[in-house]
Symmetry: C2
Subunit: 338 residues, 2 copies
Amino acid sequence: MPNTIYDIAKAAGVSIATVSRVFNEKGRVRESTRNKVLAVADKMGYHPQVFAQGLARKKKNSIMMFIPIISNHFFMEVLSAIQDKLTAKNFELNIVHITSDEDPFKQVEYQIKRQWADGYLFVSLHFEKNKWEVFKKFEVPISVIDDSNPFFDSVNVDNVEGSYLATDYFIKKGFKRIAYLSAAPDSVPVIERLTGYEKALSAAGIEIDDYLIQRGDDMARDGFTEKSGYQAMKKILSIDPLPEACVCASDIKAIGAMKAMEETGKHIPLIGYDNLTIAEYIGLSTVHQPIYKMGAEATESLIKRISKPKEEPTTLIYKPELVIRSSSEVLADSKKIA
Amino acid sequence: MPNTIYDIAKAAGVSIATVSRVFNEKGRVRESTRNKVLAVADKMGYHPQVFAQGLARKKKNSIMMFIPIISNHFFMEVLSAIQDKLTAKNFELNIVHITSDEDPFKQVEYQIKRQWADGYLFVSLHFEKNKWEVFKKFEVPISVIDDSNPFFDSVNVDNVEGSYLATDYFIKKGFKRIAYLSAAPDSVPVIERLTGYEKALSAAGIEIDDYLIQRGDDMARDGFTEKSGYQAMKKILSIDPLPEACVCASDIKAIGAMKAMEETGKHIPLIGYDNLTIAEYIGLSTVHQPIYKMGAEATESLIKRISKPKEEPTTLIYKPELVIRSSSEVLADSKKIA
DNA sequence: AGATATTATGTAAGCGCTTACATTAATAAT
DNA sequence: ATTATTAATGTAAGCGCTTACATAATATCT
């Protein structure tokens, strides 16, 4: 039995319109009556209901975020960026986990139809170009993180470049037999990263040996787990002769890979991908992506688009950076032994 | 210009009540008209608006989660549990980040007043008992994770026990000078864990040496960072004579601590806290908490409470478990050297 | 077939708010 | 003082839905 605007109006001896004006801080209200209303509202524990407001003004001050994978570093960092921006702009965040059991497209479509939010943030969701186009018909503000398409604002990072850099680093060291520790073969970032690896090899005139490309058996979280990294590395280390180095699809996988190296006693130079905070502490060389920045950028352009729906969509593609630490060095383990 | 129930009703040649019945799957509708309505709705891309539904039925099918710290493992795991449960029960999740800039109590109060949700999930939020009681006046379903209080359903884990177990493990090994690598001194779980450490020492008749209790300087995220673990361990390792072992307030801190040990070349047995997935891969002994289970349990009792607001609140306290790996063993580093 | 029970559909009154417009009070200008 | 301005407040019509209640259409039973 919460109070409504009528209760407050009656108790304060004013009309509901005045109460509404007080809470909306728009329209003129005499200072004295504003104070009276506020006092009454405070005593009675009143605050306008979001749902009634949303219906009346057709504006929710809420944005919805779609994300397929919750338990990973990328999500955490992107989320904190989004939260920061949204809080500053006084928007609510509604996180919707898109599961893989059902058609992701359908899930997203359903949510948009229900009109929960003023804008939608797509994170790490990959659709075909024509599917993306379908979303246009809803005429709602959409901003995309970690994927690109010509219809909406998007902020992406060059995955090809990332693995290219890592692979090229090893090539420059004179290695020819460089392994690639991959993940789920149907995951878009995985495909892109693998492409970077292959591109670097081709550019150096090194033939691609499919046997040097391994993934684990466990494909939970698109294969971005310690476990699958461990499994894949076991395979790589059993190759004879041993590859000279290994490029990984992620830091988490690299950690699993390191365990495999410990166990087998065979150590080869390794580069991860993501630059998790922990990477610095375990000396893992890796590829850094400006995740926070991407999240912030995308959120900002989404909020802008809410007020200016007609402008041309913008596409931002960040370049990743190679961060070299000890894991990629040949001396890494001999040092450890010493 | 999205369609409303009126548009669909008109297009399907029925009344809005019928359209509503079709979408609510309650009330009788002839099979043929249901199909007609559904067909029209599908063609016109219609679906009831959540906000209008929420207002009309005074039920939002949405629950709100309050959380002070987003970027940590606990959050990730608890979130995935909550999401799983909520999706199954067809509830939305609204995550609200409670910042430390403003009074957390005020922030939560504000959100509850606005009546966004049918129920509220408090995660890792610690209030005084009398503050908790204040929330009762809102008469909304509340469920608490990672804190206990007599007024609401709560699921907690025995933090004292966790550190007690870890400390006692070292005591049983015959160590007397056991260091404690702590975090933010005003954080409730930190205080509790420290208590467990002290209790174990006292129980063994070992005097507590404040100098053996260290925290880092960097108190971001309540001191639960690699960096502050690194800093604190540096201090511990500079103690002369060197402590015989170290109990940590978290795995993340333990990772920072390990780097400090690497750098200084001084290695002492170490136990973390959290059992991150990664702990297994780096051989970190640690304290395991059933986080997922806690999240699931709390969500379930919240949903139950929505329909049965009057029942007695339940309190669940899980026991943590000690997981021993290589980091806690004296031979750990000599093994590594070999 | 007519009366009765049952099922399907429609009507209209909210849900709690915002906001254009109308009205009244206060202030300024003559 | 009187009128013209401007500021403050009130009235009432939605926003898009749900749902009791009323009514119409069917099916069931003599």
